[in-house]
Structure formats: C-alpha cells, structure tokens
C-alpha cells in the first residue's frame, strides 16, 4: 500500500532539562498519519519523557510539539469543549488502571465523563471495547488487582481506545508479558490499527515488536533522534548502539524469526 506520508505530529527543537540533567536537546521528530512508529533507545535516553511531552503531561524546557489537526482523519468530529487530549489515547507501562474501579468501569469512565453517555450505554460500549481487545466477558466485573499482566495491558488498551482516539501512545506494551502473550499483543495492535485507522507511537525495547509491528523506527541516542526510518535503513546505520542493538544476539534472533515468518 503506497500512501503519501502526511505528518500528523511535528516535533521541532524539543529540549528537556531536569536541573543539570539534559534529557533532550534540539530533538526533531515527525509522526506520520496512519503509521506505527517504534521508538527505541537505551535506558535513560528519555523515551517516556518524549511520550509525556507529546501528550502534554510534561512541559518541555524548549521547542514545540505541534499536532497538525488538518491531517487528523476526522477533525470536525472533535467537540470544541474537549481538549486536544481527546484524539490521543495512552497506554501506560504498568497499565495505570484505577484500582478502585472494576475493569468495565475503568473503560466506561472516559465515556461517561468526556462523552456524557448514560452509564448503561457507556458500560455496553466498554464491554464492546473489552471484547475487541480480546478479554472474556467474565473479566468485566473484576478489579485490576485480580487480573494477570496480559489482561491488565488489554484492559488499559481498551481504556486508551475508549474515546476512539486517532493517535495511540503505547509505553512498552509488551514489557512483562511472556513471549506468547507479547506476540498476541503485537498482533492485536496491528489488527486494531488496521480496523480503527490508528496512528501508533510505540515506545519499546522489544525487538520482536519492532520487526512484526512497526512501519518506521526512531532511535533516541545522545539527546536527539539519531535516525527515524524504515527498519532495514535504521539497522544499517553505523552508530555503535544501533549496531549492538540490532546485530547483537537478540537482534539477530528476532530478525531470523521475522524473516522465517515472511518466507513461510
């Protein structure tokens, strides 16, 4: 499928400093409409800080993050009363489910508060989202403390999708899942992305996720985006960290797996 890359989110000259610690300096990045952008980088390179900056949880020290609303698929469906937070859905690393609410209430909350639905309608839609993320109906009445890691991620994904966002931010979605569960989650993200026309910003360490799901990969290194391109281009970059990341033992294994998957 060839499509002209429309930039949806444009980051220019972004800087983040915490006292003496400089996390980002003069960082530029474009997120294209309808892509899955994988963001990788060593620990402490500020992947999560970048995510927080884009969604507005963290105010950058300098630079700007611009959402080109004219490239949203349905700009005119956003009610004027809502913030721009609305076309964004965020899946936090540990789920960040509200522990005093059931699974179904967690997903229904934004529908009730932001979309002003009746509770019954909101819970019906919440159960639909839960079914779409592959949770069994019995899970709807459980509390987050009773869920397994994979179910927590799925519930958090359902909550992130509650308001039908156009851009989905995932912070290490497969961290802490077993390989089978992680693969299933990658598959789920791909399916939902195709069905809902999502743009996905995916922070990850998981090489398998990069190979199976991502259209482009951005590498954070040395306080900026070193390279953001299709995976073979990124993997061929001669930076030392990239070399050891993609061509270390784990990288080779993941690529072999991806290749054999394509050939079969």
């Amino acid at each position: 499928m060839t499509r002209e890359a429309k930039t949806l989110i444009q980051i220019r000259g972004l800087a983040n400093r915490f006292g003496k610690l400089v996390v980002h300096e003069n960082l530029d990045l474009d997120i294209h409409q309808g892509e899955i952008l994988g963001v990788v980088g060593g620990s402490g390179t500020g992947k999560s800080v970048l995510l927080n900056c884009i969604v507005g949880l963290q105010k950058p020290s300098a630079g700007q993050v611009q959402v080109l609303t004219e490239h949203l698929q349905h700009p005119h469906t956003i009610p004027q009363t809502l913030d721009l937070a609305c076309p964004f859905g965020v899946l936090f690393q540990h789920g960040a489910l509200f522990s005093s609410l059931t699974v179904q209430q967690n997903v229904a909350l934004p529908l009730i508060e932001q979309a002003s639905l009746e509770r019954d309608d909101a819970e019906h839609l919440a159960r639909l989202k839960l079914a779409m993320t592959g949770l069994p109906p019995e899970a709807a009445l459980k509390y987050p403390a009773e869920l397994s890691g994979g179910m927590i991620k799925r519930t958090a994904l359902a909550r992130a999708l509650a308001l039908d966002p156009e851009v989905l931010f995932l912070d290490e979605p497969t961290a802490g899942l077993d390989p089978v569960g992680a693969a299933a989650f990658d598959e789920l993200i791909l399916t939902l992305k195709n069905a809902l026309g999502l743009t996905v910003f995916l922070v990850t360490h998981d090489l398998d996720t990069l190979y199976t799901a991502c259209d482009r990969v951005a590498v954070l290194e040395n306080k900026r985006v070193l390279v953001a391109d299709r995976l073979p281009v990124v993997a061929a970059h001669d930076n030392a960290w990239i070399q050891s990341y993609f061509h270390g033992p784990r990288g080779r294994a993941a690529r072999r797996a991806a290749d054999s998957l394509e050939n079969s």
Binding site: T77, P79, S99, L125, R127
Partner: protein
C-alpha cells in the same frame, strides 16, 4: 461525500428509499444518544432488505456498534459480499466490531437471594471478626517472639531505626500534644469552675483537673493522638511496602520483617508514649492553671499547693502505667493493618482507616477496663 468540507458534524440518519435502506451521516460517539434513538426508532431491518452505505460519513466504534445492532452481526460479518465497494478500512472496522459483538458481551451475573445473602453476609462478618481477632493475637505473639529473640543480642538491635521512629512518633508530636491537652485542661477547668462554683466549691476545680489529667486524660489524649497520627502512618508505610512486594523481598533475603519493621516501631512507641503522656499531664495542668488564675482568682502558688496536698503521687503512676500498654496495642494494630494490605491503592486506604478506628477503639476499651480495675483495687 461532501462531508469533508463542512466543519459541522451531521448526526447519522436512516432513510427508507423504495426497496433499500440508506444509511448516511456521521455515526460517532459524539452523537451516540441521538443515534441510539434513531436505531430504536428504525426497528429491525429485515434480512432481505438491501442496504446502501455509500452516504455514510465518519464512523467510529460506537457508531459501528449501533450499526451492528441495527443490521445484525450476521449481515455485517458478510459485509464484503454485499458492499464490496466500501473502503477497506471501513469494512475492517465493521467486521471487527461485529465479531466482538457476536459473542455475548454481558458477564454472567450470579442469581440474587436476599435472605440467604443477608445470612451469608452476617456469617462472613462474624468469621472476619474472629479472624481479625486471632490475627491480632498471632501478630502480638510474633512480635513478642522477635523481641525475645533479639533482646539479649545487642548486635541485632536496630538502634538507628529505633531512634528515627522515636523522633517521628515522639519528638515531632510533643508540640501538638502539649497544645491539645492545654486546651482540654482549660475546658475541664471551665466546666469545674461553672458547676462547682454554684456550690461555692470552685476551689475543687484544681482537684478535678489534677485527678482527671493524672489518671485519665493525659494518657488517653496522647494515645488517641498517636493512634490517629502514628498508627495510620505505620499502616500506610508498611502497606505500601507490601503492595510493592518489599516484604517478600525482605523474607527472601532471609530477614524477618517483624524484626526489621515492626519491632523498632513498637519499641519506639512504648518508649515515647509514656513521655508524651507525661507531657499531656503537664499541659492539662497548665491549662487548668490558666483558667484558675484568670477566672477563679487562685494564685499559682495556691494551685500547686492544693495539687501537692490533695493528690498523692500514685495517681501519676496509675496514669503512666497504662501508657506502655496503649503504645504496644496501637503500634501492633498499625503494623498488622499494614501487613494485611493486598496490592491495590484502595486496600492501602482501607487498612489505614481501619488501623485508626481499631486502635482508638481498643485504647478506649482498655481504658474503661483499667478504670474499673483500679477503682476496685482502691488505687
């Protein structure tokens, strides 16, 4: 599709045109309530009617769910057959939603039986009370065991932790206890001055303040303050550690969480509460003194002379003797509630509350029992 150029979103419509049904407009979350009425109004669409989706505007999952309700899952799962020229993405969305809705969505709800439910709740409550009680006794036993195991081994004394807890539970609490008991002392003296003054016995206000603070109020007020301030802190701190698996980590490292966490807290409380109770007694006596000085014209010298003459020192010992017992119970309840926390933030909140309620209740209960005992003994 002229919708792209308009800025206002048009809610979806269903129109009957000759033999087919035409669905148009935006089917989105924004219009959910209105669309739901439209769907309810349209009723069920017969299986053989042909559907025209060409004029469909924006569609999201909420809208798709309503379309599935309108047209049925069967038909939408076969959407590629009857609407092949629909954009791929739209077909995928409708299929995904239809697939999700083809399974029953509602979780199974257990049948309700009011009478047996009530009995079950009473039973569960009773059992829970009994378990709490035995858990408290067991925890006291564990604490005493850990104390016995370490008391003769100075190398295992955790003096730094003990000193820190003494500072937090004791030194930091002195100002608030002094102020609180000073005010209550003044209030008691006011009551005494009012009631006793009517009988011309205003001078006995001094005795009233002295008796009540030395025997009861000094220690009880200090204990209640610590129950609110410190038991809750213990429960929340240990509870958060439990939620973060830190207690398991302590056990796995071959250490004893009781010895590490509970013992320093309990000992710190046992050391500080008597001191705080003494501060409370002094505060109360000073509050009483102020009222006697200003309202009853009793001089400072006279006030202390009456105290010295009428109130034997054993009242002080009666009051102070209760302090270590209260301290032990408050600290143990606070720590135990922390240990009972399970995972969630809500659980931390529940057990923190429970620690305060339980410890205040137990302090007052024990005080009542002790008052009876001391009275019967004539002490």
């Amino acid at each position: 599709m002229s919708l792209g150029s308009t800025t206002e979103s048009q809610p979806g419509r269903i129109e009957q045109q000759a033999s087919d049904v035409c669905i148009s407009g935006d089917w989105t979350l924004l219009h959910y309530a209105k669309l739901k009425q439209v769907v309810a109004h349209a009723g069920e669409v017969p299986a053989n009617t042909s559907i025209n989706l060409q004029a469909l505007g924006v569609l999201d999952t909420a809208g798709a769910a309503l379309l599935v309700e309108l047209l049925g899952t069967e038909r939408l799962l076969r959407i590629s057959d009857w609407a092949p020229d629909l954009p791929e993405a739209r077909k995928a969305l409708l299929e995904t939603v239809a697939e999700a809705l083809s399974e029953p969505l509602n979780p199974p709800t257990p049948p309700k039986a009011p009478v047996t439910d009530f009995l079950a709740r009473v039973g569960a409550g009773t059992e829970d009370f009994w378990q709490q009680f035995t858990a408290l006794l067991g925890f006291i036993g564990l604490t005493l065991e850990a104390f016995a195991a370490t008391v003769f081994r100075p190398s295992r004394w955790r003096l730094a932790a003990l000193a820190m807890h003494i500072k937090q539970t004791g030194v930091d609490t002195i100002p608030i206890i002094a102020l609180l008991t000073f005010l209550v002392g003044a209030v008691v003296a006011f009551l005494g001055a009012t009631v006793l003054g009517e009988f011309g016995a205003g001078i006995y206000t001094v005795n009233l303040v002295g008796f009540s603070f030395l025997r009861e109020f000094g220690v009880v007020l200090a204990a209640i303050m610590l129950a609110g301030r410190t038991a809750s802190a213990f429960a929340a701190h240990i509870g958060s550690m439990k939620a973060n698996d830190e207690l398991d980590a302590i056990r796995v490292l071959g250490l004893n969480p009781i010895e590490l966490l509970v013992l320093p807290r309990v000992l710190a409380m046992v050391i500080t509460l008597p001191i705080l109770a003494f501060v409370g007694m002094i505060g109360g006596l000073l509050g009483g003194l102020m009222v006697c000085l200003l309202v009853l014209d009793i001089s400072i010298a006279q006030y202390f002379a009456i105290l010295h003459r009428d109130i034997p020192v054993h009242h002080l010992w009666v009051g102070l003797s209760k302090a270590p017992v209260f301290a032990f119970v408050i600290a143990v309840i606070g720590c135990l509630e922390g240990f009972k926390v399970t995972g969630s933030a809500r659980s931390v909140g529940e057990h923190t509350t429970s620690s305060v309620v339980q410890s205040i209740f137990v302090v007052i209960l024990l005080d009542a029992v002790a008052a009876l005992f001391f009275m019967e003994m004539g002490w």
